[in-house]
């Protein structure tokens, strides 16, 4: 059996054959920490996006277009699940408020919303590809942005898919179903950044999540909770949520995707 160490990982990281055991949440977060220690530039893209998110919050608070608080911020407790790495802004705009807006407001308002999504997409792609150490190409960026736009802009236009459930049991059931699906698609952004096509990325994400579903579930929940919690901080919430959760999420994806690739290579070699 080939004992192949993850490129750039710490010496203590286990071999591919031990992957299912060692890919626990603390280990992944520890790997993220080591990545950032070795290459602090990994946090720069989401730091810049965090500043933009804070700027967008500031603009939304001051311009005359109707505003709403971010979905989760009005709740006493919320987990802001996101498949693609991003933070939670303190303010938001429903797509409905753009209907019949005068042209300058329409252009200004839509540009701000689209730029916020685009910036988070580019930052996620930059961070994942840098952490993976793969070659950057236009096709992977396009696919990454395409995927991100689909899961963020479409629900935004159609209305936020939030469900208020009165029953605790029903709520828990819906929560579990929802998170099971999310766990299966958790790695899609990582594979898209690694220049896989949509179908392949989805298939690989579903396959790679086998055996580590609990790990991914805890990661998702942790990121969602941290994203919501940090966004609660007045004024700087959007910046902190994006600048902290964004890079950790993106590098975590890179860690798992890289390990999956190592496993696959090992299987092929073996």
């Amino acid at each position: 059996m080939t004992s192949k160490r993850e490129h750039g990982a710490a010496d203590t990281e286990p071999t591919a054959s031990e992957s299912r055991r060692w890919l626990s949440t603390p280990v992944i977060l520890d790997a993220v920490k080591r990545h950032v220690s070795r290459d602090p530039g990994l946090v720069v893209p989401f730091m810049v996006v965090g500043l933009f998110v804070a700027f967008a919050d500031w603009v939304r608070m001051r311009d005359p277009i109707p505003l709403s608080a971010s979905d989760g911020l009005s709740q006493t407790f919320s987990i802001q699940y996101s498949v693609f790495p991003m933070g939670t802004a303190r303010t938001a705009r429903r797509a409905a408020v753009f209907v019949d807006l005068r042209l300058p407001y329409l252009v200004g308002g839509l540009t701000l919303e689209l730029l916020a999504v685009l910036a988070a997409g580019v930052a996620g792609w930059l961070t994942i590809t840098r952490a993976l150490g793969v070659e950057r190409c236009r096709s992977s960026l396009a696919r990454y942005l395409g995927g991100m736009s689909t899961v963020t802009i479409l629900p935004w236009m159609l209305g936020s898919p939030s469900i208020d459930v009165g029953s605790l049991v029903l709520g828990a059931l819906l929560f579990l179903t929802f998170t099971l699906v999310l766990v299966r698609v958790f790695l899609v952004p990582g594979f898209l950044a690694a220049d896989e096509g949509f179908k392949v990325a989805l298939w690989k994400s579903v396959r790679a999540s086998s055996g580590i579903r609990m790990t991914l579930f805890w990661l998702l929940s942790l990121f969602g909770l941290a994203s919501w919690g940090l966004a609660q901080i007045p004024i700087a919430g959007g910046l902190l949520s994006t600048a902290v959760v964004g890079p950790v999420h993106a590098i975590s994806l890179a860690v798992v995707v890289r390990q999956t690739r190592i496993e696959n290579a090992t299987e092929r070699d073996g």
Partner: protein, 405 residues
Amino acid sequence: MVPSRRRFLELTGLAVTGTLASSVVAGGPKSASTPAYDWPMDRYDPEGTGFNPTASGPKDGVKVAWSHDSTDWFRGTESPILLGDTLYAVGEGLLALDAETGAKKFGHPGPYQSPPARSHSSVYNTDTLAVGSSAGVFGLNADGGVGLPLTGAQFGVERWNQRYETGGLFFGPAEPVAPVVADGEIYTPVPGESDITALDPNDGETRWRTTITEDDTFGADFNRPAVKDGLVYVTYWPNGVAALHTESGEKHWQRNVDEQLLLPPIATEAGLVVPSREVVWLLDPNDGTTLWKRTLDANATESTPAVADGKVFVTDELESLHALDLETGETLWTAPFGGATAPVVADGVVYAVKEGYSLFAFDAETGAKRFEFQPPQVPLSAPVVGDGVLYAVNRERVIALEEAK
């Protein structure tokens, strides 16, 4: 290829430019002219007179010109408003009808309860309707937004909402009060609280919020405000009257009168008309002092007077409708009319719906009864007057009444 930093900055610059352009245009006009037959809010105008000097309704009898009853979710009791060729009615949603035919233009179910008030918006191409509920105030697209194919639903109707965490009144949720729009601002009581607030029609943001009574645990139970010449006038439980500056919300004056159960005030050139259970006052709008006080043999607890051509039309809710001289408070005429009502006036005719089941028309000069009309359903809302037509909400339907031939 990696996107260049320059490209990113270009895109960011575009967003900033667009947003700044928005801010520049935000200083645009705040009001526009009102077509002659428009009835843009509850009680017609910010002053709350219930009198449209340019409209004219049926005079000698009415028949139903059209009836709209095909919107299944609609249940209304509040007066509609009329804007151009569109009639808006609220009742478990907003319903927009063609005023000429009664054909439905759009409908949008929602928690809306009060009559809407039209406000012009400097950021939207279409007007915004401010609608009250026991939970807060909503800003709705008067054009209905975009109709979604096959579903019959509308996208983009609700522009903003200003919801309040309220404790409600002693006996339950606060009754929604119709918002008043004047000089490009929305004025409304905060449901269940002791505050009056001014909202920006563009985004519903609070311009100011003033607490009227500090020691009221269950809210002040405000009536519809009246706005005139830079002042917002409010009456509230049990016997308070206050005037606030429209610009800042700062109190101009505040006083208690010696009678409880005050009804909605009406701001006029002669002074502020303040009705109560047994008494009608005319107060000096500048300092709240009494100009005249008229005691009636009355038990008025749910009515709202109208003011037109120097007369105050007020019911005693026992057996009469009175016309009082606005300058002196003296009785000009009294007509038989037993029950609560919120009369409206147009072209020399007073239209008054008695207890929500029967529409009366009186000659405004003499008090002579001109006609009576009873619809098959109850309740019937107070009507609004258009071009020869009365419009009213009648439980599950909206009706137009024209002159009977």
